[in-house]
């Protein structure tokens, strides 16, 4: 294995290239499929293999910027990126993140930051995961009843539809998402998700992706693509800020990006063969995994937490690739209409 060892001059450590490629590929597949940056996999994974924490975060953010470009290019060609919506949200996200960062500093001064944030993180992810799972289960039950010819009660107005009815000018039509709403809706959703993301110390994909679906009313695939568009911009900014602080191991980021580019392409193309609700189901499972890793961390089981994340990340990537392969085989055999999405 020494053959694959490289010296990383900034972090001052020797590291195995194969590990970097494995981490990069895993996070690439998950990121392209769910529309998330994947910091929850990369940072602990790099850390358990010997990266000092500040370099793990900086290197992760750097490669996320590059990887998201790969996914956004492909999602854009699929028609899954709503640039207008993404730009409107970035405005709110930036302000929200700044407010959140100030709130964290206040909490730190009160000596509450560490424990409170971790508990909030667990509660928040638990709630989001549970809601997405509940939505999946009720949708599946409904579909089964419809297929069995049993009459089902009409569903009420969704939260997103109620929010879209608020007519505060300027009203904007978001073509890729197929929705018309007040500009203030995405700005405020961006602001609140940015605030929560900054307080919890996460990139935001975990919160923004479901917010795009349930609060704004985007189709799942558009939520994934638009979220990646945002991750691309915040990732580039993060790469720069950590770069000027000297906390990016650029050589490691480049190796990870090679594998992440391949993974991101596969993860993104897999979206084409999977229905929106199946994406939501796997997303809920992913959230629960991230949540349980934080619980393990809270119990001071650092190694178990990082191993759980890495193993689960690899497992989830394999499921996505299996769906991709099945989809391609079915399409070639003529069992699927082209571009069914």
């Amino acid at each position: 294995m020494e053959l694959f060892e490289i010296y990383l001059p900034v972090a001052g450590i020797h590291f195995n290239v194969l590990v970097l490629l494995l981490i990069g590929f895993t996070v690439g597949v998950c990121g392209g499929f769910f529309g998330i940056g994947g910091a929850w996999i990369v940072t602990p994974a790099l850390n358990i293999f010997g990266f000092p924490m500040p370099y793990a975060i900086g290197t992760d953010l750097a490669h996320i910027g590059g990887k998201s470009i790969v996914s956004t290019i492909r999602h854009g060609k699929f028609g899954n990126v709503d640039v207008r919506l993404g730009v409107a949200m970035i405005l709110g996200t930036t302000i929200g993140m700044e407010l959140g960062a100030n709130l964290v500093i206040k909490l730190e001064q009160m000596g509450l930051a560490e424990s409170l944030i971790r508990k909030l993180y667990i509660v928040f992810l638990g709630l989001i995961g549970s809601y997405v799972l509940y939505d999946y289960v009720s949708h599946t039950r409904r579909q089964r009843r419809v297929q069995a010819g049993i009459e089902v009660a009409p569903t009420g107005e969704t939260v997103a539809q109620k929010l879209q009815r608020i007519k505060i000018p300027p009203m904007i039509h978001f073509r890729a998402s197929g929705i018309t709403c007040s500009l203030w809706l995405p700005v405020l959703v961006g602001l609140s998700t940015g605030l929560v993301a900054a307080v919890l110390g996460v990139g935001g994909g975990f919160i923004r992706m479901p917010a795009l679906i349930y609060l704004i009313g985007c189709p799942t695939a558009v939520a994934v693509g638009t979220d990646l568009f945002e991750v691309m911009i915040t990732g580039a900014y993060g790469a720069f800020t950590y770069g000027v602080k000297g906390r990016v191991e650029l050589i490691a980021a480049m190796w990870m990006l090679f594998a992440a580019a391949v993974g991101a392409q596969l993860g993104t193309v897999a979206i084409k063969y999977v229905r929106g609700y199946s994406i939501r189901l796997l997303f809920a499972i992913t959230i629960f995994v991230a949540c349980s890793s934080v619980i393990l961390k809270q119990l001071e089981l650092q190694l178990a937490s990082a191993v759980t994340i890495l193993v689960a990340g690899i497992g989830i990537s394999l499921v996505i690739i299996a769906w991709l392969v099945k989809g391609v085989v079915d399409e070639r055999a003529g069992r699927l209409p082209a571009n069914h999405g």
């Binding site: 001059p9 470009i69 790969v70 290019i73 580019a261 229905r275």
Partner: protein, 103 residues
């Protein structure tokens, strides 16, 4: 007399400076926790001339320049790899046109 006073002040000043210089690291080290590195330097001694060494050199020269280099490399690689992998996937014969959304 005046000259003597000046010499005394100069001596006192010199002694204060020396004490400060000696005391600061001692205070920092005696603060309980280990003192962290104030300036990070990439160790280029183990590197052969090439890309790694050049990047480490930029890092040692200026963090600002390094920050710009990080963004330029990541964005550049993202665009090139994005187009290359896109081409590779399309060569597999998968239809990569716009998709209609089915929930």
């Amino acid at each position: 007399m005046r000259r003597g006073q000046l010499t005394t002040w100069a001596r006192a000043g010199g002694a204060a400076l020396c004490s400060w210089t000696l005391a600061v690291p001692a205070l920092a080290a005696g603060g309980g926790k280990g003192a962290s590195k104030l300036v990070n330097v990439a160790d280029t001694r183990q590197l052969e001339p090439g890309l790694s060494r050049w990047m480490a050199g930029v890092y040692n020269e200026s963090y600002w320049l390094f920050g710009l280099l990080v963004v330029a490399v990541m964005v550049g690689m993202g665009v090139v790899l994005g187009m290359a992998t896109d081409k590779a996937v399309s060569m597999l014969g998968i239809n990569l046109g716009k998709i209609s959304h089915h929930e």
